[in-house]
Symmetry: C2
Subunit: 345 residues, 2 copies
């Protein structure tokens, strides 16, 4: 090991070559595991590498070979539970594969801003993963120039794509369906829905699953309440719904929204689950500890992130066969916030 205190320029393969008495190309062969290197030579080179503390320069590798072992994740948000968990999953998988992970935040959904951010991601080299749950993400996915390796993390598509499309998704349509059926099965006449901002299409996957469950049960379909991502949005929506005495069950587009709704119901003097049942979406870490604890549907966001990376990895390197990603089954988690409707209803 290099123990000299000087912060000298790090050793290059030519330094190693000189130290080992071979050509730089032989060093290159050794670090790349090329078979036709005499064992004794390999030994000497490895010794020199160790002695000089050589590390292969990632920048030079990227420039010379074109491959860069890097992913850039484009996302509108890094703090919300779902987004953060997907990012975590990507990072895990990327680290395991020795890939570097970069992030770019889509602060605005405006076309020019999105395009600029996509450009930056493209400049970084390597692959791109776009989290396309919102308008900014959807636009970014669309703005990625053809030919670049990219994978989208999207809502459940209306019709499953050809199987080889570079997209992954959690089955949030099914999740919404399950949650709605759960509430209906408790005896509620219908279920109201507080929606997260849709990705761009008229009907988001979550809304679709909710609607389907209502339709199958012959329940009336109330207008969904459009909201934002955070608890404040849920709070506002909750205050509105609380005024309507006929509302006995509310499904929320995510757990943060549900939190706001719970608070609004509390402030309006309506008890949960006595008078109104509430269900969330995502099973965020805090949901089990709320009072009342929140009935919700768990989605495996971390696994989704891992799948996204695996798919991209397959696109970037021929090796790993691009198995169509396993859509994990959402899991209904029944807690205190849902129960039968009040007797009078």
């Amino acid at each position: 090991m290099n123990v000299t205190g000087h912060t000298r320029r790090p050793a290059s393969i030519r330094d190693v070559a000189t130290a080992a008495g071979v050509s730089y190309q032989t060093v290159s062969r050794v670090i790349n595991g090329h078979p036709s290197v005499r064992p004794s030579t390999r030994e000497r080179v490895l010794a020199a590498i160790d002695e000089l503390g050589f590390r292969r320069n990632a920048t030079a590798l990227a420039l010379a070979s074109g491959r860069s072992r890097a992913v850039t994740v484009l996302t509108a948000n890094t703090t919300h539970y779902g987004y953060a968990s997907i990012l975590q999953g990507i990072e895990e998988a990327a680290r395991a594969a020795s890939y570097a992970v970069g992030i770019g935040v889509l602060e605005s959904a405006e076309d020019a801003a999105v395009a600029a951010e996509v450009q930056r991601a493209a400049d970084a080299g390597g692959g791109i993963i776009v989290i396309a749950y919102d308008p900014a993400g959807v636009r970014a996915l669309g703005a990625v120039p053809a030919g670049l390796p990219v994978v989208g993390v999207v809502e459940t598509p209306a019709t499953p794509p050809g199987g080889d499309r570079p997209w992954v998704w959690a089955d949030d349509r099914e999740a919404a369906y399950q949650a709605t059926r759960h509430l209906l099965s408790l005896g509620h006449a219908t279920v109201h829905y507080v929606a997260i901002p849709s990705s761009t299409r008229r009907t988001s996957a979550r809304t679709g699953g909710w609607r389907q469950a209502l339709k199958e049960a012959g329940a009336p379909e109330p207008r969904p309440v459009q909201s934002s991502w955070g608890p404040a949005g849920g709070h506002a929506a909750g205050l509105k719904l609380a005024k309507d005495q006929s509302v006995t069950a509310i499904l929320c587009g995510n757990d943060d929204l549900a939190l706001g709704v719970l608070r609004a119901l509390h402030e309006s003097g309506r008890s949960v689950p006595g008078e109104v049942s509430v269900a969330g979406f995502d099973d965020a870490p805090h949901s089990a500890f709320l009072t009342p604890s929140l009935t919700t549907v768990r989605l495996d966001f971390t696994g989704l992130g891992r799948s996204a990376f695996a798919l991209l990895h397959g696109v970037l390197e021929e090796s790993a066969p691009v198995a169509p990603h396993p859509v994990s089954v959402p899991e209904l988690v029944v807690r205190e916030s849902s129960g039968p409707p009040p007797a009078g209803a």
Copy 2:
């Protein structure tokens, strides 16, 4: 603009040079804003750049010049509110300065694993920001080889460092002090503390602020309850404290912990704030919407992240003067979860 559909190799400065009828060096001068280029020449080059859709190759730039306009953030976690917010702040500032942001997660605090992750960050080139609120982070900060540009985001240091040290921190010591004084001022005999895992030192900054407030008030100092980061840890700690009828005020190391404590008190039949007051730390987005809403101390994590980047930016480029980062003042947010102790106590 290049409108041909072919995914051809992107244009290099030599392509632009040929198109504009100049040498590649002149193109280099134009894209770097070098003054001595005849306006008419500059014009022609810019036209060629536009026509070919030329973008400067970041990898080649990094290799040739040594500067890489990139930051890698090393952190033990990306999903907890504080960490995620710091990351968000860093990203914002980095984006504004046209820097790429990479992340590396310290999954284990084990020395070898930490060292490997630090190596990866170093390999990426550019600067490093280490979030050192926990043992893994602290070790990573220590493992960064001398000579590399690095900034640490740390707990309030016991004695403010020389002013030019590449560290930033929020005043969490003061924040804990304020929260504790608030609870004492309501009439509580003392305040119990549920601690997040300390960074490594015996006494964390938060613990120190709490202790100081107790000491100044002449209040007895109960043993802090060591816990984890998430609500589950707070729940366990809360169940223990709930059994002790003398406990009337609890300060928690963060809002997630406080959430778990609230739940534990609820399950134990102890009312908040009637019998027990609870205060959190960080003012996470959901804290205002809990029932009861959570008294907490707000820390500007996003601003902290921005400061960290600004400091690193100053280290990497001589330009921006390295103003010592402004330690923002924590803000006590009094909500429903704190009140006077029960009459009998």
